[in-house]
Structures are given as C-alpha cells and as structure tokens.
C-alpha cells in the first residue's frame, strides 16, 4: 500500500484501539494466553496495546513483537467478552489488521516502509 493508505490504516487502528479500556476481560479465553502459561502479551489485550505502542513509536518490529502478534489464532473468543462491544470494537479483526500493517515490512519484493 502507498504511504497515504498506510497512514490511514495507522490512524484507523489508533482510533479503534482507543476504545479498549484495558479491562482485560478478554485474556482468559484466549488459547495463546492459556498455552503460554498466562503471559499478558499473548492475550488480545496485550496485542492491542502492542499495536498501539508500535504505531506511536515506543515499540519496534522485533522478534517478541512479531511473536505476540502472529500468535493470535483469529478464533474470535475475545470478541465474545469484550466490554467495549457497545462501541463495536472488533478485537480479532484489529489484530488481523495489525498483521496487515506489519506485512509491509515483512513481505519481500516490496519497498518496505518501517512502521
């Protein structure tokens, strides 16, 4: 995607993630969170925060970040419990869009733009 689309995606992600109040209701049902022995960055809440702090520059696209994000199974159990449902926060899809954003820097054969 070009720079304008990339910026628009980042803005959308930030706007959507702002709906998350870090209530952490979603963490227990996440299969990756359970399988990692309850490490919070392997939970939907964790992934949303990681995405946010990646976009605002605090974090970078390193191994732990990629591991966190791509360990999401897209199973959707988090969306069932999300307290921000009233604002149509689609947790699993946001994480997927995060993968879309990262694919810029991960897929070869393209001019990769650092997030």
């Amino acid at each position: 995607m070009d720079i304008k689309e990339s910026q628009s995606l980042r803005d959308t992600l930030l706007k959507e993630i702002a709906k998350c109040r870090a209530c952490r209701f979603c963490i227990d049902v996440c299969p990756a969170y359970q399988a990692s022995e309850w490490v919070e960055n392997m939970s939907p809440y964790g992934r949303l925060q990681i995405l946010k702090y990646l976009i605002n520059g605090t974090l970078e696209e390193d191994d732990p970040l990629i591991y966190s994000l791509y360990s999401c199974l897209q199973c959707g159990r988090c969306d069932r419990l999300c307290k921000a449902k009233g604002q149509n926060l689609e947790v699993a899809n946001l994480i997927r869009l995060g993968k879309y954003l990262l694919s810029q820097g991960l897929v070869k054969g393209k001019k990769s733009e650092k997030v």
């Binding site: 709906k19 209530c23 227990d28 960055n41 925060q49 605090t58 974090l59 732990p64 009233g86």
Partner: protein, 470 residues
C-alpha cells in the same frame, strides 16, 4: 539507576528459570499498562517482568532486589481503578499469574488458594462445594484473589449485609519485602483474636508483603430473592436507602441502582422497554430458603416508603439476568458515545442526599471541561455514589484525560471528607494518597510511612504508591 540488563536477566533467570523472565519491551509495556486512560511513560516501563511459581522464588527475588536496590511492583490483574497497578518508577514487575493452585478442604472448613487465580475461577471451584466466594468485584473475570484481598474490597456487595473479604481470611503465607517467608493466622475456623498479623496484610495494597497463599473460610451459598423497583426520580431511591439504615433493616447483599440517564441507556442496551425514571435492583439473601422469601416480602413492603412506581419480586431467571445486566451494559454503551471519568463517594448514611446533590454540582462545574454530563449508577445500598462525568467525545488529549481524572478524584475526595466517608472500594494509596492525607491527617499518614519503612526499609515493594506518584 544504572542497570546491567544482561546481568539482571541472567540473575533473575537463575531464580525462576530463563523462560519465565521477560526483558523485551513489548512485554514490559503490556504489563505496565493499567486501566488508567493515559499512555504509559518511559518511567513506568519495567526493566523486566518476572514470573515466579512459589514463595521460595519470590523470597529470592525480593532478597536480590534489596541487594541491588531495584524496586519491585506486584502484578495481579492490573485492573485497579485508582492506579495501584501501574509501576510508578522503573523496576521489576512481579507477575503472580503462574500461582493458581487451589485446594478446598470442607472437613477443615476452609480453602487455600494462591494469589494469581482469577475470581471467577475461584468461584467455579467453590461452587462444586456449594460454597460462596464473599467478594464481588465487577471485574471478577480477571481480578485476582490476591489483589482483591490486598485491597480488601467487597465491591458490589453491601458491607453491612455480609462484611469485607478480610473478615473471612483465616491466615496467610506472606513474603515480606525483605524476603522472609512468614505464616500468619490459624488453621481453625475460629479466627485468631488479638494482635494477629493477618490483619496487617489484609488491605495492605502490596506495600507490606506479597501474599503467596490465602486461607479463607468456607461459607455456604445463600438463597437469593431478586427485587426490582422503578422510581420517578433517583432521590426516592436515596431516601429509601437512608430510611433502611435508620429503621435498622438488614440490607440486601446487593443493592444497585441506575439513575434516570443510565437506566435509559442500560435498558435500551439489553433490549428492555425504556423505564420512566430511575431503577433499583436488589438481591436479598438468607441462609434459609424460607428466610429469603420472608425477607424479600418484608423488604418489598418496606420499599413503599420511597414511593416506587412499581416494586416486585422477579421470579423469572431470564428476566432477572436481563435487568441485572443492564447495569454493566450502561457503562459499556456510554463509552460508545464518549468518555466517562468516575469517582467513588461513600458518605455517612444520613448525609447521602446532600452528598449526591453536591456530586452533581461538581460534575457540572469542572474546571478542566465545560458542560460535562452527570451520570450515576452503582451500589447505592452500601452506600456508594459512583458519580461519573460524561464527555461526549473520545477525541481529547492525554493531558486532558489525566487532568479530568485527577480533578474528579480530588473534588469527590473533598466530598468524602466533608460527609464523613472513607472513599469506598478502590483502595487508599496511589491516586488516593491526597485523600488519605486530607481525611486522616499527617499523623496517620506518617504512621503508615513508618510502618512501611519498618517492613520495607529500602522501599522495594510497589514504590511510589504510598507516596502518591502518578
């Protein structure tokens, strides 16, 4: 502080195993973030997150921290509503999530549980033994038992009906800030009298030690009867609560309300018909079935004192679940339209009406923001007024979020002090320190500082919370 990261990683790895030490930034940020709406800053982000599995490991971690003078912040669920969870200064985050064992001993009359188990899972285990978990936070899906007892909150439960979590704690295994492992209390169901140190650690907010094993008395599940009452205005509900205490009537275990605005939003959110005004929901409890029915009938008669439009016992479980869930949904749906900044006012009962009106004025006259809307809903029977300032937009700066949170907190604290209240269910340190000092005075605060220093001379555990750092 100059930290040699590779040495720190290695040293901590020797204690808990390298796979249970995390020094990468993504993990650190996730553990630093709490429920407060403003961003995590560099000073909040820990050097490492360490995940012990037993008290021996915690003891070694704390001894190491004291040796190197590195602060340690305890992490349960991270859901504190007064900022207890966010590390106030760079250090090590100690995550209790791996400590989840629970053993129920009906023949001994108690159960023992490690601090990292989420309340809803404790509840599930206890239900097998027909036992009640006497703690009721709205965050029970994720709140840990260690954290809830460390804050000693009954949250949604009305204290006067049952008591606080600490009333049911028989004893602890605690790791002191300097690393010693001590045992307090008793294994009998008759709690220790006298200067039992169990009491010092209940509600200690992570300042005086790390709770590593909690022994809690088994209580049987009571019988409940559900009542819903519709009113023209909130003041009628408030008058009812005041009258209830005045007449010496035993309160329902749960006594919730939605004000006119919240009731409309909440009922619409769950698909119920819009109520005329405010709504109150109660769960009357008794340890005998006949008792619960009798109590409910009597309470229904008593409710007439507040002139409800309608008050009835709800027998249909589905109908009740819908009505009850409108409380939670009111909050969730308000967030769709903007942001809310909350507060807790638990005044002296006979001052409830005045406190409520002043809370409304505070919200309408905020300095940080013009024309915020006042909304209130919550455990009015406790009594607690959760007064919310509702801002109809999400587009506000980090600084404004902080300013609004702190202004609401400070002004409602003054209200708590004016009307003799303690401030409610969220704890007394971190963002509550200014209140602590205002309400109880410098002498009491100094006493706490001395106690803290006596157990934690290097100020290792949860540094910054007693100081009131942000």
């Amino acid at each position: 502080m100059d930290i040699n990261m590779s040495k720190l990683t290695k040293d901590l790895g020797k204690i808990v195993g390298k796979e249970h030490v995390f020094t990468d930034k993504p993990t650190a940020v996730v553990y630093a973030k709490d429920t407060m709406p403003w961003d995590v800053e560099e000073k909040n982000i820990p050097y490492a997150v360490v995940r012990p599995s037993n008290s021996q490991e915690i003891s070694k971690i704390l001894k190491y921290a004291n040796e190197k003078l590195i602060p340690v912040h305890i992490h349960g669920s991270g859901t504190s509503l007064v900022g207890l969870a966010r590390p106030k200064t760079k250090g090590i985050v100690l995550d209790t999530a791996r400590m989840k064992k629970i053993n129920v001993y009906p023949e001994r009359g108690y159960f023992e549980v490690e601090p990292g188990l989420h309340l809803v899972q404790v509840k599930k285990e206890l239900a097998k033994y027909n036992a009640l978990l006497p703690l009721f936070p709205g965050s029970e899906l994720v709140a840990t038992i260690g954290g809830t007892v460390a804050v000693n909150t009954s949250a949604h439960g009305v204290d006067a009906a049952l008591g606080k979590p600490g009333d049911f704690v028989l004893g602890f295994e605690v790791v002191l800030p300097t690393g010693e492992i001590i045992y307090t209390g008793t294994e009998s169901t008759r709690r220790a009298a006298g200067i039992d140190p169990t009491k010092f650690f209940v509600g200690s907010e992570g300042l005086l030690g790390v709770l590593t094993l909690l022994r809690i008395r088994l209580l049987p599940l009571p019988y409940f009867k559900q009542i819903v009452a519709y009113y023209n205005k909130t003041e009628d509900i408030i008058d009812t609560v005041m009258e209830m205490y005045k007449q010496g009537i035993h309160p329902p275990l749960f006594y919730e309300f939605l004000d006119e605005r919240a009731a409309k939003i909440g009922f619409e959110a769950v698909g119920l018909e819009e109520p005329i005004g405010a709504v109150a929901m109660m769960r009357v409890h008794s340890w005998s079935k006949v008792g619960s029915e009798d109590k409910a009938q009597n309470f229904l008669k008593f409710l007439q004192v507040g002139n409800p439009i309608e008050a009835k016992i709800v027998e249909d479980i589905d109908e009740w679940n819908l009505i009850w869930s409108s409380r939670a949904e009111a909050g969730n749906y308000m967030y769709r339209l903007g942001m809310t900044f909350g507060s807790e006012i638990s005044p002296r009962v006979d001052k409830l009406r005045e406190a409520f009106h002043e809370a409304q004025l505070i919200v309408k006259n905020l300095k940080s923001y013009n024309n915020a809307e006042f909304i209130s809903f919550g455990h009015i029977g406790a009594p607690t007024i959760h007064a919310y300032a509702f801002i109809p937009t999400k587009d506000i700066s980090n600084d404004l979020k902080k300013a609004l949170t702190l202004e609401m907190r400070e002004k409602t604290e003054d209200l708590n002090i004016k009307y003799g209240g303690c401030g409610g269910e969220w704890g007394l340190t971190a963002q509550r320190v200014s209140f602590l000092k205002k309400k109880y005075g410098e002498s009491l605060y100094e006493l706490l500082v001395r106690m803290k220093k006596a157990l934690d001379p290097n100020d290792i555990l949860n540094r910054g919370n007693l100081q009131g750092w942000i």
